[in-house]
């Protein structure tokens, strides 16, 4: 007997104030999603596979400079520019607010990557290879992508699916394993944390700069952040004015109208650079 899934809308919040640019998320993603080893030449040819990457920007002039870090991953846009341009329906928007990629359909026109403002879509220029000693670390839940197709961040959909099966369908508490009454078999953020049903990057972030949860889940920390962001859009639509000083919430390239499901929180700079 399979119970009906709750309808989810996943979202991520990146707190730039906490991000130290330690690249733990990048490594975790690499390990979780069977991403090929990025050898030196890949970086030289600008073909490195990084479903999530830390972009580093310098602020100010030497000697007084500051490094700024921003982790960039697939923004899982509501109005994703990459989706409608695929001739073979290889990428589309599923009902959980995720932008999914169907590897078997992809024929590699690379139009989606061209049309992605965040350049987070990777193309497999070569057949992926692992040294033999790493064969056994491949994640059995994730397909290995062949050459010639696009791939990108999936919000670790395989982990979410496991969570759905365990909690919502089989109804087991992630930690204790006792049965949950049919009434509240929902994948709230507590259970997600307990069962690690969250993207590898979020799980591995040492400063909790990354938060991932269901936007419909009242207990989730991201809920009010998303609500705040949506309110801002509403006010601007009705000719109102948003005070940029008193809000940290923003989305990448908001004016493109992609409505990402990833929200960034501005850095609060305690010691700003004195303007030279």
């Amino acid at each position: 007997m399979v119970t009906q899934r709750a309808n989810h809308k996943w979202g991520m919040v990146v707190d730039l104030d906490k991000c130290t640019g330690c690249q733990a998320c990048v490594v975790a993603c690499q390990a979780e999603n069977n991403i090929p080893i990025n050898v030196k030449s890949f970086y030289q040819q600008r073909r490195a596979y990084q479903w999530i990457r830390i972009e580093r920007y310098w602020e100010g002039e030497f000697p007084n400079v500051k490094a700024r870090f921003i982790p960039i991953l697939c923004q899982h846009c509501e109005n994703a520019p990459c989706e409608p341009v695929c001739p073979v329906f290889a990428t589309y928007h599923n009902d959980e607010g995720m932008n999914v990629q169907v590897y078997n359909r992809c024929i590699g026109t690379r139009y989606c990557s061209v049309n992605c403002p965040y350049t987070v879509r990777m193309f497999n220029y070569w057949e992926p290879q692992w040294p033999n000693r790493l064969r056994n670390q491949l994640n059995p839940d994730v397909t290995i992508r062949t050459r010639g197709i696009m791939e990108k961040c999936t919000f670790c959909v395989q982990r979410l699916r496991r969570g759905e099966v365990n909690v919502e369908r089989r109804g087991l508490e992630p930690l204790t394993g006792e049965r949950i009454p049919v009434g509240d078999r929902n994948l709230d953020s507590k259970r997600m944390k307990e069962g690690n049903y969250m993207p590898a990057c979020v799980q591995s972030c040492p400063t909790n700069a990354l938060m991932f949860a269901d936007q419909h889940d009242d207990t989730s920390p991201v809920k009010e952040i998303f609500e705040e962001a949506n309110e801002q859009i509403e006010t601007r639509h009705h000719g109102g004015h948003v005070d940029e000083e008193h809000t940290r919430v923003y989305r990448l390239f908001e004016e493109i109208g992609t409505k990402p499901n990833v929200i960034y929180l501005k850095k609060v700079d305690a010691f700003p650079l004195e303007k030279a």
């Binding site: 520019p81 639509h237 009705h238 000719g239 004016e255 493109i256 109208g257 992609t258 409505k259």
Partner: protein, 479 residues
């Protein structure tokens, strides 16, 4: 009266007229001098409407002053209507003279005479100089706003002295003057021909303007070269001025509207209105003016093909604009589509679409209709209405998109509701159009509406000839 044509083979009978040049000059000058009753009636009516328009203008000025452009949307649009017609119409003469088409000969003077009505453009434009908000953001002066918001988005990037207002006026004036020069140069032989027979003010006018034209070979060559050069120059100036007007008074008033195809659409609409006006005038002359001996249906037929072409061009460019804005999900683009097409001005847009594309296309696609004289004229009338709708939609929309200082906002973030005309606006729109008609009617009394020398020249190169058993038209192509 004109000689009747021999019966050709097939369905082409009745297409060509071969004017009897011996009596043409006398007849046409007679017609120019005479003032039949319907004409005087039309003059009176248009004159009254003209006055109404002036009244409307004064009232509007008294009500709102010249500070806020959002009250003047309809005035903006009526200026653009007159500008489109009077600047687009002479292009018909210029372009088809350029392609050496014989059928254009009866048409050219009719279209050139619009240059006189074009003088209105300058008068109508002067108030607009005061209406257009400045490029530099007045709030930015106090250093309150820096960077992108310090200036409006315009084509005058760094805002040189007096731009855009003064330069626009210079451009409009230059365009009008060029058109008048073309008219003068092309009318010179005709004026010279009748400068001695004419009487009254016409005599003095003709003899003044025709100078010492005696039709020597040298003079003819000079005239042809001059017409070609002026024509090319006029064409360039026209394209440029329409680009300037359309982006200064429409595009740059809607914050964040970045639409590189809009000037092209504007120019095409202007061609619609110009060619439409020319064909309607030709039809009236042929049917009621007694010029049927000189204006053959072939003129309508050939013009109708061009018209069909520009009708398709219009919808093509409109779709190119629409699909590009629709496909992207940019907020500002979605809002502009909502504002100008789907929500606010939806009805006007539908009318515009119907009159600029659907109906004319449905009329012109039938070969027999194109061969008639009423068909193309009807399509021309429809295109004029479509152009009027276009101007109302675009200019009223632009003037009211961001009233006050929002005009310096960076994005067009919320969609305002439509603005309906009040009585003064109606007065101004009708009055403006009537003014153009009024001036044009006066102009037809001033100069012959038929370019005599061109028709005579054409008579040399077109005749009927036999090939074996059939009889066909022979067209000569002089180098």
């Amino acid at each position: 009266m004109a000689a009747t044509e021999p019966k050709g083979h097939g369905q082409h009978a009745g297409l060509w007229v071969f004017p009897d040049v011996s009596v043409m000059s006398r007849e046409v000058t007679e017609k120019t001098k005479s003032s039949p009753r319907p004409l005087t009636m039309a003059l009176v009516v248009t004159g009254i409407l003209f006055v109404l328009g002036i009244v409307g203008f004064i009232a509007r000025a008294a009500d709102d002053g010249f500070n806020d452009i959002s009250a003047w949307g309809y005035y903006l649009s009526v200026f653009s209507m007159v500008f489109m017609v009077t600047s687009g119409a002479p292009l018909a003469a210029v372009a088809f003279r350029f392609t050496k088409s014989h059928w254009r000969r009866p048409l050219s003077r009719v279209s050139e005479l619009f240059a006189i009505a074009g003088i209105l453009n300058i008068l109508l434009f002067i108030p607009l100089m005061f209406l257009l908000p400045s490029i530099g953001n007045p709030d930015a002066v106090g250093g309150l706003i820096e960077g992108e918001l310090a200036v409006r988005r315009t084509i005058w990037f760094e805002a040189p002295i007096g731009s855009p207002h003064a330069w626009d006026l210079v451009g409009v004036a230059g365009l009008v003057v060029t058109a008048l020069f073309i008219l003068w140069l092309s009318a010179m032989p005709d004026m010279a021909e009748s400068r001695h027979t004419a009487t009254g003010f016409r005599r003095t006018l003709y003899s003044k303007l025709s100078g010492n034209w005696y039709g020597t070979k040298k003079q003819w060559n000079a005239q042809k070269a001059g017409l070609a050069l002026l024509g090319a120059f006029y064409f360039m100036t026209l394209i440029f001025m329409q680009f300037v007007i359309s982006s200064d008074y429409a595009q740059s008033l809607i914050p964040g509207w970045k639409d590189s195809i809009f000037p092209v659409i504007y120019t095409i609409t202007s061609l619609h209105m110009g060619l439409g006006a020319v064909l309607v005038t030709l039809f009236i002359l042929r049917r009621f003016g007694g010029y049927d001996g000189y204006i053959g249906k072939s003129t309508f037929w050939s013009a109708s093909k061009v018209m069909l072409g520009i009708t398709l061009l219009w919808i093509y460019h409109l779709f190119a604009f629409f699909i590009t804005f629709w496909y992207g999900r940019l907020e500002v683009e979605q809002n502009i589509i909502k504002y100008l097409i789907t929500d606010t001005y939806a009805i006007i847009f539908l009318l515009n679409l119907a009159f600029s594309f659907v109906l004319p296309f449905a009329v012109l696609i039938w070969n027999p209709v194109r061969r008639s004289d009423w068909g193309p004229a009807l399509a021309g009338g429809l295109l004029i209405v479509g152009g009027i709708m276009f101007n109302i939609r675009i200019f009223v929309g632009s003037a009211n998109a961001a009233p006050g200082s929002d005009i310096y906002a960076y994005f067009f973030e919320h969609v305002p509701s439509p603005v309906y005309p009040d009585i003064w606006d109606v007065f101004m729109v009708i009055g403006g159009l009537a003014a153009a008609a009024f001036v044009y009617l006066l102009a037809t009394r001033l100069l012959p509406v038929l370019s005599l020398w061109e028709v005579k020249e054409g008579a040399l190169y077109q005749k009927w000839g036999k090939l074996h058993r059939g009889e066909y038209l022979i067209l000569g192509k002089p180098e």
